[in-house]
């Protein structure tokens, strides 16, 4: 639903909502119009231009134009017109009103942050920020598109306080976003996304650390170029009106709309081209090749030779000695001829390509005062840094407004998105490309693998039906995996809504709206014969296999609202909304898979040689709601607000399926209440406070225990098993409580601004699957229990250190968020819940009285002085008290996150840089663990500086009797011990997860106005951009920023591909 357009229309028609002034002034008033521009003449969209004394005004459209008419009654006076926009210093002009049209242009200079202005808040209501009793931060299209990313969530990294965003590492992967910490122990902690008033899915088809493909999160379908504003409503306080799913905060996006262009057409173009490469790769050793115990000889790559089935690099020294290898030529008898045993230091690096992204958005808009529209086409063409990886996205958006008569108007928005991905990078132990390079021979020649992946293994005496490779026991040729086992997926999505607004009376509107987010997502994973990855479905007796997954998701919301915006008299202003809504969602999933095909290359169920396994799930749910919200503003400086909502949910038992939750807030502008507070230092001061409750329902079908049938028949016979999850017919709604307070201060006429909050919230009666003893016959039971408390502070500090008349401007914005999530209660008798594991004795838990996201695992046995106690053999050993995940190794929660953005502008040039901080917290790195175990990492040279077993490693420790250890152990034994073999101790692989990233850097240039005009444009900007250019971290070998999905299973790294370093170039043409 077109919020901005509705606002524009409303304002254009009714005037800014402050007064009783009749909207449809018939008299020949003065029409004031013009452009509002920013640095270099770029249009400022969404700026408010108004005459406060007369309470009339308008917002600027996409082109930065505005127009409004002052009632004839004011003719003959001289008034002050003010242009304001968040992020800019206000500008004013004096205009005499004569009845003749006036053109008044404004040029605004950017400020670091701005505390006053109009923002979009819950239900798309446009409000003065000074009247909000809750914390929210708004970003403009410019701020979002400083540098181009495919996922709009990535665009806000480092820009909003109190928000934790973790990029996936892989291109097109899932990005996790958390506002003010996790509320739910095992459930959804993602904020609710609203686009033009309709909830849109951010479903993640992510994966576990163990392996699979990360299919990204659905919000990435939204084209960042189409977003006009994005408001982040951080706490449940700001969001109570959206219902259950707002407990984790709400992100409200409005898309760009058309405007009255007098019938003309406006065209906007944005074009970006970027290059991507892995930002961090492990540091490998190049002194020892494949093998074990210093031995290696290739005969057939499948244990026919001495360790030619091995996949570690504890083999002979790479000193040029002659050894038969997988690349050896054959002699007359077909045996492989020894060739020089040498390193290929760039063998992993050379696997990766340089990625390329071409992003284009073209939009057209125009209309009259009765009807206007904007349509846009967007396209992303991405070639990833992994071989054969591509990603194509097409967006089309049409927003239209039709004013049928003076009372009735209608808005419609239709967005179509198509995503096509090919060969998404695998993640985790079984599927990541990096797994094949951590279990690796350091002598392997990557060029030979690249050139030979289409060849047969008989080339080097391997198995006759395999692809040419360096090892046939445990590995596939990485290029064969990329090219002959393509993963392909596509999502077709419609997001649309239609609404009608009827003006019942002045200041009172009724609105009926229905909107849906509908998508079908199809994933095809094809496997060729010969796939040997752990857990593969492929049966080597057949010609390959496939998995086909098919999701259909449909969420519809229909609501009827009444809005009242009225000044009761000169002292009281009331803004109220009341409404009722129905939300229906349907999720339908079908899958087909088989591990055996009859004929190669036909990935169709008709070609299945092994009975296919089928899957089918249908989920439906409905929530009905009634809600209301009211804000009373007194004397323009004190606002008291409240919200109330009642939900009825289909997923809760009759008797408990109705739940009510209220909120209250207040805001006081101290500098307006007591004007004497204002002085040359303090220009603005506001305090606010709020308290809220938000209820939430359960997932569907948790009330009755059922039997699960298997689609595969045993010899034709059906099979059933009673589900492992025990149902609970007595579930109650869960409730989140939240309190917050904040202050907004402005000094030196906005040169320094501060917007800070403190908050405290907790969710109780959580509905979750509590683990129960499997000896009951069930592994989980749905219960109401548990409590997570979140306490934190956040602030946004803006400073304009330099602003010269000569056009030089430096703005600096720093944001900071500290949040502490504590697991205060779990279910009775339960002390911990497993959130995820890498399968190797490290896991992340919700553990009672610990920070949420506790890394648990084994530690080394130490004496009272902290020295390692070694075994008689000279090896460290596991602290037995840690057995069974009993030792706490730190939390994945950062101590604080923040961002520091700096903008330097001089005339037409603008330089922007953003540092993103993640301070504190821990992570566990499986890449480092296995890299030690296999001897490929550069540090595993320790102990074999001279030769494969020489000089050995003397562990710095003591024996049980306190005597110092002097025993040298074989380096292979040592590295395998510390990484895994000596009790799976993960202590050494838990790192301080702190990092600082140079997240964004851009240098842009605004083409002179005169030249832009020659191209029929108001502004043309050219820029060079960069993302993830530099990472400062103590974590070795990996990118410390990673996520596999948007769920709670975070903090354990497992062969994650690094986030891309991106360089690019962009052009933007504004009409």
């Amino acid at each position: 639903m077109g919020m901005t357009s509705k606002i524009s229309r409303f304002l254009a028609v009714a005037g800014v909502v402050f007064g009783l002034t009749p909207a449809l002034a018939q008299a020949q008033g003065t029409t004031i119009s013009g452009h509002v521009t920013g640095a270099g003449g770029a249009p400022v969209v969404g700026a408010s231009v108004s005459i406060p004394t007369l309470r009339v005004g308008a917002f600027t459209d996409d082109a930065g134009s505005y127009s409004f008419t002052v009632p004839a009654s004011a003719n003959g006076t001289t008034i002050t017109v003010i242009a304001r926009r968040l992020g800019f210093q206000p500008s004013s002009a004096t205009v005499p009103l004569t009845g003749a049209p006036v053109t008044q242009n404004f040029s605004l200079s950017a400020t670091a942050t701005e505390l006053q202005g109009v923002v979009v808040t819950a239900l798309g209501e446009s409000r003065e920020k000074s009247r909000l009793g809750t914390a929210q931060q708004q970003l403009s299209t410019t701020e979002l598109n400083e540098t181009k990313t495919q996922n709009v969530v990535n665009s806000i990294q480092g820009k909003v306080s109190g928000v934790t965003i973790t990029g996936s590492g892989t291109q097109g992967g899932s990005t996790r976003i958390l506002l003010r910490g996790a509320n739910s122990i095992t459930g959804n902690n993602s904020p609710l996304f609203i686009v033009d008033g309709v909830a849109v899915s951010n479903a993640s088809r992510g994966t576990t650390q163990v392996g699979g493909w990360d299919f990204g999160s659905a919000i990435s379908d939204i084209n960042p170029e189409d977003i006009a504003t994005m408001s982040v409503l951080k706490g449940p306080n700001a969001a109570a009106i959206y219902g259950s799913r707002a407990a984790n905060g709400v992100i409200i996006m409005t898309t760009k709309k058309g405007a009255n262009s007098g019938g003309g057409m406006r065209t906007e173009v944005s074009s970006t081209y970027t290059w991507e490469s892995p930002s961090i790769l492990p540091s490998f050793q190049n002194l020892y090749g494949q093998g074990s115990g210093g031995q290696f000889e290739f005969v057939d790559g499948q244990n026919g030779g001495n360790c030619d089935g091995c996949d570690q690099s504890f083999g002979p020294k790479l000193d040029g000695r002659l050894i038969a290898q997988f690349t050896s030529p054959k002699d007359a008898n077909g045996n492989l001829i020894p060739i020089p045993w040498v390193a290929h230091p760039d063998n992993v690096d050379s696997y990766f390509n340089s990625g390329h992204t071409l992003s284009n958005t073209v939009s057209f808009s125009g209309g009259t005062d009765r009807a206007n529209a904007r349509m846009s086409f967007g396209s992303d063409q991405i070639t990833g840094y992994i071989p054969n990886n591509s990603f194509h996205k097409t967006n089309a958006l049409l927003n239209a407004t039709l004013k049928i008569n003076d009372r009735l108007s209608s808005d419609a928005s239709l967005q179509y998105v198509r995503n096509n991905a090919l060969n998404r990078p695998g993640v985790g132990y079984t599927t990541s490309a990096l797994e094949g390079f951590l279990w690796f021979g350091r002598q392997v020649d990557m060029t030979a693998l690249k050139n030979g992946y289409n060849e047969n293994a008989t080339l080097n005496n391997g198995p006759p039906d395999r692809e040419f490779n360096w090892n046939y026991n445990y590995h596939n040729n990485p290029f064969w995996l990329a090219n002959d086992n393509p993963e392909a997926d596509n999502r077709d999505r419609f997001i649309g809504n239609v609404s009608a607004t009827y003006k019942l009376a002045e200041g009172l509107d009724a609105n009926l709206r229905t909107g849906s987010d509908i998508y079908r997502y199809v994933i095809n994973q094809d496997f060729s014969h010969g796939d040997v990855r752990a857990g593969t479905i492929v049966n080597p007796a057949y010609a390959g296999g496939f998995i086909n997954l098919n999701d259909y998701n449909n969420e519809n919301t229909t609501d009827l609202t009444l809005r009242l915006n009225r000044a009761l008299n000169s002292h009281f202003q009331i803004d109220a909304v009341g409404g009722a809504a129905t939300r229906r969602s349907t999720y339908n999933f079908n899958s087909v898979q088989t591990g055996g095909l009859t004929v190669p290359d036909i990935y169709n169920v008709g070609n299945a040689a092994i009975t296919p396994t089928l899957g089918q799930t249908l989920q439906r749910r409905q929530t009905n709601s009634a809600y209301g919200s009211a804000d009373l503003t007194i004397n323009n400086w004190w606002t008291i607000g409240g919200t109330a909502r009642n939900d009825w949910s289909s997923t809760l038992p009759v008797g408990s399926n109705s739940y009510f939750y209220p909120s209250a807030s207040t805001a006081i502008v101290l500098t307006d209440m007591l004007p004497s507070l204002k002085n040359r230092w303090l220009s603005y001061a506001k305090v606010r406070a709020s308290t809220a409750k938000v209820g939430a329902d359960a997932d569907p079908y948790l009330l009755r225990t059922t039997y699960t049938g298997l689609s595969t028949k045993y010899g034709g016979l059906p099979q059933f098993t009673l589900a492992d999850a025990l149902a609970n017919g007595g579930l109650l709604p869960e409730i989140t409580h939240s309190n917050e307070a904040g202050a907004e201060l402005s000094f030196l006429d906005g040169r320094i601004t501060f917007d800070g909050s403190i908050y405290s919230k907790y969710t109780e009666n959580q509905i979750f699957s509590a683990p129960i003893s499997s000896t009951t016959g069930f592994t989980t039971k749905s219960i109401n229990a548990g409590k997570i408390t979140n306490k934190g502070q956040e602030f946004l500090l803006g400073v304009t250190p330099i602003s010269t008349g000569g056009g030089f401007n430096w703005n600096s914005v720093f944001n900071y968020g500290h949040n502490k999530s504590l697991v205060a209660e779990l279910s009775p008798g339960v002390t911990t819940l497993n959130l995820g594991s890498n399968g190797f004795d490290a896991r992340v838990e919700a553990r009672l009285d610990h920070p949420y996201g506790a890394i648990m695992g084994n530690r080394w046995l130490r004496d009272s002085q902290g020295r390692l106690i070694v075994t008689a053999g000279g090896l460290p050993q596991r602290d037995p008290s840690c057995a069974g995940y009993q030792c706490y190794l730190g939390t994945v929660q950062p101590q604080w996150t923040g961002g520091w953005g700096n903008t330097f502008s001089y005339k037409a040039f603008r330089l922007y840089g953003l540092l993103d901080f993640h301070e504190g917290g821990r992570l566990m790195s499986t890449t480092n663990m296995w890299g030690d175990n296999t001897g490929v990492l550069s540090r595993t040279i320790k102990g074999r500086e001279a030769d494969w077993n020489n000089p050995g490693v003397v562990v710095d420790g003591v024996h049980a009797d306190g005597s110092p250890n002097t025993t040298a152990v074989n380096p292979e034994t040592y590295w395998q011990c510390v990484s895994y073999n000596c009790g799976q101790v993960v202590e050494d692989y838990v790192y301080d997860a702190s990092y600082t990233k140079l997240r964004e850097l851009s240098l842009s240039f605004e083409v002179p106005h005169s030249m832009a005009n020659r191209f029929n444009a108001s502004a043309i900007s050219l820029g060079i951009t960069g993302r993830n250019l530099k990472t400062w971290t103590k974590v070795p070998n990996i990118d410390p920023e990673f996520s596999y999905q948007t769920g709670n299973n975070q903090g354990i790294e497992d062969f994650v591909l690094p986030n891309a370093r991106v360089w690019g170039f962009n052009v933007r043409i504004t009409p």
Binding site: A580, Q719, T721, D841
Partner: protein, 525 residues
Amino acid sequence: MINKTILRVGSAVALALTAYGCNNDKITALNKNPNSPEDVPPGPLFTEAARLTTSRWFGAIDLRAHEWVVQQLAEVQYDDEDRYIRVHATDTEGTWNGAYSSELKDLTQIIAKGQASGDAGIYAPAVALRTLGFDFITDAWGGAPYTEALKGDSVGSSLTPAYDTQQAIYASFFASLDKASTDLVGASNALGSADPIYGGSPAAWQKFINSLRARLAMRISNKDLPLATAQLAAAMAAPGGLILSNADNAYFPWPGDGVYNNPWSDNLKGRDDWRMSWTLVDSIMKPLNDPRLPIYAQPAASPGPNGPYHGAQNGIVAILPPGGVLEPLNTTSRPGSIFYPGATTYGPVLGRTGSSLPTAILTAAEMNFILAEAAERGMIAGGAGAAATYYNAGITASMNQWNDLAQSNGQSITAGQTAGYLAQASIVYQGGTAGLMQIAREKYVALYTDGGNAWFEWRRTCVPVQIRLVPDNDPAVTTVPRRWEYPTTEATANGVSLAAAITGQGTDNLMTQLWWDTKTAATCS
């Protein structure tokens, strides 16, 4: 006018909301699960439970431990199980949790359904498989939730079932098997083809139930000889008798259709981690010229000085003495080609029929060895003479069993080979303690592919004596494991009950000996 409008609109909204509230009970109809039923007939539950019981306890992959600990198989390259590194609570708990939450629960549902309809043909086979599954649990872990287990949160049960002692569990085993065998008299074949093992035959299940009872009786014979003797006698006297002929063996037939395959073949098709253990091949079968060896094992890819059949030393992979040289992996034997499907990812097409090789659950060979031991120890009549007869019958049954299984793989054991084996001086029954050791050794060889029972029997008898602590073992494990550690999930979700069980049983580590395990660990390993 405006106030009127507000009033009008307000009333309309109030009315609409009232209507809403009234309709809200109806939306709960949406919450009836359209994907899964709330009740099903017993047959499909039985098929699933029988399959899971077999793959869980005879799969050699779920637990990845029994066959290695008892040194029938050895690991190459990744020898974590061999060295007791990857056999701790977090590695073995999946087996415990899976057994309870899958087939044991479903079998309990079947028993309830069968008892409700008074149909022993349904519930007695389920009692038999439930007892078999619970026996693996108690023999591998010790005391376990039994009486209070598998009841969910139904009225009167907690979510924290108490542990029964191993002794109490065995007592209950005997009682329920006794009743099941008796109830089957005159019962109808109610399961029919839904029973993959015996096609629902009540007579066949009687033999199975009695034989399982005999196995359990012998297992406790060192701890409670009178009870063992009485139970063995009762098992033999129970209606239906014992499995003493291969025709009555309990086999789980695998379709080998790519979906349901013999679990060994499923592992071997994609992984080349397994070799024969030196203990079974070099220290026992080769010196005895065992004709089963070419079926159990295949010749090394590149035979070394030890000849074509050669086992790998358990845990030897990690040993790298200064200047030491690893024995090349290609000189050791893989498991027999009979276990291999028609193709593997890593190379040679080693066998053809492994995916449909039936899994032996309970055999005539084992029953004969139990009776041989019983006769030698005077638990049944006949003395050494009868012991020798049963001993020879056990060996012959095992030879014939493997001959039968190997036919599909183009292999065989001739009657002449069996006779030749029996005629060897070292095989001829010697009676007394030496005889008991012969019986136990032959049982160990015959139990190949049932590593669990081979391990339990080694703990009971200390035979074969060649089983020793591996080199470079996990320092926390100081004897060959004699049980598994309780699951970490029990510590977190059933902690009080577990703590009480540990108090009664002994430290929760791999070395604590269970109730029936009376040999001193020092003599055993």
